[in-house]
Each structure stands twice: as C-alpha cells, then as structure tokens.
Subunit: 339 residues, 2 copies
DNA sequence: TTGAAAGCGCTAACAT
DNA sequence: ATGTTAGCGCTTTCAA
C-alpha cells in the first residue's frame, strides 16, 4: 500500500498516460482536447478518486471561487434566510459562499475578515455598514467587490443592498399612530452593537416626536431572543406602566412571547393593547394571533447581493458603488388594526 | 498610484529592509527573530495593510487551518447550535470552520464535500452516517480526521459523536407508555432522507410493538417545520382519529404548533391528550405549556467533534475510530406527566 | 490537439 | 538571528 498522500495531477497523468497539462485541461473542461483523451483521463481520475488541489490551482491562476459572507449571528432567525438567498443565487455560477460569524463584535469581525481575505476570495458580502477603521481599510484595499447588506442608512464602501431601518421604524410608528394608539412602549434586546435595531428605534421615536409623543416606557434585555424573554419583558413593562396601549418589539420572537403573555392575561388584543414586531418570521405564523410585523426582505437581500458579486465576477462592473434599497412590507397581522 | 495588486511578503520585505524569510517568520511568530526586527516588520506590515496570502502559505507548508463542516440545513434550529459548539471549541486552536450545506440531498452532499476536500482541510465534521458511496470513498481516502455527528446508529468512517436516535425514540415511547397513554399518534415532516428522524420513529414504534401497540395514526408534511404546519397536521389527525390520547412530534416546532391548536380547542393537556416533541429548542420555552421534549445535545456534539479534530491536528491520534454517544435528557415539561 | 518551461507567493530545510 | 535555495501542485504561456 502506497503512503497515504493525496493524489496529484501527476498521478492521474501517469495512470492515464497523458501529460499533466492535458489532464489539467480535461478536468477543468478548458481548451481543446480530443474526445478519446478526455474519456481516458476522466475515467482514470474517477477511478483513482482524484480530488484536485484548489490551493495549488488558485495560486497558479490567482482565481479563487470563494465568496466570503460575514454575518453577526446564526441563532438569529434572520441570517440563515439571507444565506439561502446567497447560496441559491450563487449556485451555478461556480462561486461558493464561505461563512464567517462575528457575534456582533467588531474585533471578531476584524479577525474573521482578515482570515477570509487571506484566502483571496472573489468577493465579500458583509452585514451592516458599521465596521472598524481597520476593517473598512482592509475591504477597501482588497480590490474585490464588497457588498454590505441589510442596511442602507449610512455610507457604503462599495455596493450595498438592504432596507432602511430608520424608514422601517418610521413607517411602523405612522401605522401605529394612525390607529389612534398614544401610549406606546418599546421592547428590545440590549445590543449596543445591533445598529439596525437602533436605527429602527430612532426612526420610530422620531415619528412619535413629530406627533408630539415620546415612547412612554421601554424595556431592554440581553441575550438571545426567545419567547420567555418576551413574556418577562412584557410583564415587567405592563406592571410598571399599566396604561400602555401599544407595544413595539424589536423582533418577532420576543413579540410572540409578549403576545402569548397578554392573551393569557385575558387582555384584548388589539383593542386594549396593540402589538408589533419586526422581521416577518414565517416560522411564527400559527400563533393564536398573527403578530403585526415588517419583513426585512432577507432572502431577496441575499439574492441581490450574490447577484452583484456574480456579475462583477464575470466582468460586469456597472454595479460599482451601487445601492439597492428594498422596501419592507408592513404586515398588519391581527394585532395592529383596531377598526 | 501603483496598480491595485494585493501586497506580497516581498513588498513588506522591501519596505522594512528585512529579508522575505524573516518577514515570514515574524508574521507567523515562528523562529527566533530579534525584538528590533520584529517591531520593524510588524509596523511595516500593519502600515501597508498587508494581508498574507494563505493560498501560497498553505501550498508551501501543506498545512491548512480549515475544518470543513457539512450540515443538511440551516433553517432547522438545530444546526446553528452545533456550529456554535464547533466554533467555540475551535477558537484558540488556530483552526477555522468552513461550512457547507446539503439540503438533505446526497448529490449535493457529494458536490459540497468534493469542493471542500479540494481545499485540503485539516478535518471534516459531517452530519449523519449515511452518505453516498462516492462520498464515503472520498472521506476515507482524504487522509484527514473525519467526525460524523448527530447520530451513532450505524457504521462510522472514522470518529463519530452524537446520540442514538433509535434509543431516543424508545425512551420517549417508554415514558409515554408508563403514563398510560395507549392511542398514540405520530407527526413528522416527510423527509425520506432525514435518517435521524426515521430512526427515532423506528425506535419509537419498536417499543410500542413490544407493548403490543401500534402507532394509531400518523401524519406527514413536507417543507420546513413551522407552527402553522404543526397546527394543520394536528387538526387533520385529530379530526380523522379523535380518540388519540398522545401525539409524538418529530420536532419541537411542529409540536408547539400542535400545542397551541389543542389549547385553543380547549382540550385538556396532558389529561385528554399528551404531547411530546424532539430537540429541546430553548427558543420555545415560554409557550403556554412547556412541551415535553428530548434534547439532542447539539452544542455538546459540536464541541466534542471539534475537540477530536483539534486533538488530532496536534498529533493526538488516540481518537481514531472513536465513538462518543451522548445521552439525551428527557424533559417532561408540562405535557407528558399525567400524575 | 498536445507538451515543456516558468512561476504563482509562500515556507521547509539548510546555510551562515 | 538572519539569509539562501528549492519547491509545494497547479495553470499560464508559448512552442510544436
């Protein structure tokens, strides 16, 4: 038994009696090769179980079919959907997504980014517009397409696809005010680095302010968002400020928890208290009431971002500096419209 | 302005007046380098924004710090947690997880695996024990540690970490029978390729059979699991077979949907109908009743698998062929114990 | 249609 | 402590 060493092109070449170069051409499907040799080589490669060494290939050709995707979290329901959009759009282009997770920590982002760039990917898709100076510098210098996703409120390095969270917050506030709610509470997770949640809250508060209102009470929690958290927060807030008439949650999961809690208390929804969340998490359809929400166009964002990278990869560079703002749809569900 | 080309070691060497080799040593922190040169080189590299080319490094050293992680799905709540376990355990080892998703399709698995192996990773963590012959061959030939995770019921290629789903199914059946339930329904997603769900069902049925019982009725659905699906399936099954006294769901999400549906119908749980799911999804704590469930030790599985890879990477190879069976904990919640 | 030579950017191994 | 040389496994380029 030969030493356990990965097979090389040379091994295939020897086994098939065809030069390395021609073997390479066959396996990449490039260049003219006679049908006879093609078949011979393919058979040999398959038979031996040859797996090409992309490291060598990439070094020689300075072409890497990897797209770096950098997101803050997986536990959050939102990013897996973005990833699906990316993966679907990339499939068939020869590009492959490679994922890095930052946990909303800028220094982790910097490290992950450095790691990924060191593999010389063909493009970067990265969540958010807020990055450390070092990260921005790395991205700007990398000489590859960079698409910042999920947010358009700010300055992008290159291209950018997402929704305006400020606008989303405003839109929700308008809908709430229009329904006559006036004593409005906000419940969010305590994530100083979740800039998108913050921007939503900003837009929201701003619109209230224009109507001469403030957020009546608010509640913040740390850790991942779950139903139980939503319950606790809601209970705390309602106990402290019983005359609240609307609760705006920074995501659907805690909103759902709040909904369950209030229903248990026998509180009339949306008569006595209206509710809204954010994200359009389909998983949660099927609650006793459908929670009002606004979807962040997650799948579409992923698709569009991947498209920009794919286009540039084949030389269409009209997307340089492109900004794509998608429009989130407000879903009134059963918890917002009083009529 | 110089042409936009990534910087090389040579650029740093020239800028700092230190030989390429020494620059390389400094940046990798290997070998003896005087404090003075070290500082000089680091400053130059940082100043220029040098990002090393791992492709070249990996080719030269035949060392790649990547660990391929291959999972069937992200939308499923279970895998993100496995990934966390892997990422946490790997952090600090210099190894980096790279993820591939197969959507439960064996041919997609084969393709993803081939892609990943072509980057010559230091190890592979792959979900499940069932793979195509080609996939098994690739893994066996790769000459790197392979850890199959999430399941121990079957033959592993190398190491293996997970729970026995058959045993999990049996254990749940025993608990249900012990509570006196006799007319038992099963609700699952129609995933012929979700072998783990199938094994749970097998174990479950087997234990019922030993007690002289069969599954009274069952219902399958396709697509991702959501609350709404759980509701529909439950309604369908209860309408068809009203005298069911227990419902066993193949995952917590559809179980939660069923729970909500039954509560709305005013059905006494667990007096009239008992319920149980699978997975121990924490996210769902906070439902009106806590669903009985059995956790799949997701985080621990990820951690242990990563540990095996990390150990072997530094030469500890006592784990070759190791099988680690974790024991899932049965959580009775509020929907199983009649007392 | 096929082959030979050179080299991608880095690191191992050996000088010094 | 630092430098020199060779070469990792492929692809590019050019020649046949």
């Amino acid at each position: 038994m030969p030493p356990k060493r990965p097979l090389t092109l040379r091994d295939v070449s020897e086994a098939s009696g065809v030069s390395e170069m021609t073997v390479s051409r066959v396996l990449r499907g490039k260049g003219d090769v006679s049908e006879a040799t093609r078949i011979k080589v393919k058979a040999a490669a398959k038979e031996m179980g040859y797996v090409p060494n992309r490291i060598a290939g990439a070094l020689a050709s300075s072409r890497v079919n990897l797209v770096a995707v950098i997101i803050p979290s997986l536990s959050n329901m939102v990013f897996p959907e973005v990833l699906s959009g990316i993966a679907d759009r990339l499939s068939g282009t020869g590009l492959q997504p490679v994922m890095g997770v930052t946990d909303y920590a800028p220094d982790a982002e910097e490290k992950v980014l450095f790691e990924m760039l060191s593999w010389r990917p063909s493009g970067v898709i990265i969540a958010g517009l807020e990055h450390s100076d070092a990260s921005r510098a790395m991205l700007a210098r990398a000489g590859i397409p960079v698409v910042e996703i999920m947010d358009v409120d700010g300055a992008a390095i290159d291209a950018c696809v997402g929704i305006s969270h400020r606008r989303a917050g405003r839109k929700m506030a308008e809908a709430i005010l229009e329904q006559g709610y006036r004593r409005i509470g906000f419940l969010g997770t305590k994530m100083p680095l979740d800039f998108r949640a913050r921007k939503r809250l900003e837009g929201f508060s701003q619109t209230l302010a224009q109507a001469g209102l403030n957020i009546t009470d608010q509640e913040f929690y740390s850790g991942g968002s779950s139903l139980a958290k939503g319950r606790e927060m809601t209970q705390a807030l309602m106990t402290r400020t019983p005359d609240i008439d609307f609760l705006y949650y920074s995501n659907d999961m805690i909103g759902a928890g709040g909904l369950l809690h209030l229903l248990e208390q026998g509180i009339d929804i949306p008569g006595r208290v209206g509710l809204a969340g954010f994200n359009g998490v389909e998983l949660l359809d099927g609650l006793p009431r459908k929670l009002a929400t606004m979807d962040a166009c997650r799948y579409a964002v992923g698709e569009k971002a991947a498209e920009i990278i794919a286009d540039r990869h084949v030389g269409k560079d009209e997307s340089e500096g492109l900004m794509v703002e998608l429009t989130p749809k407000l879903d009134f569900g059963d918890t917002l419209l009083r009529n």
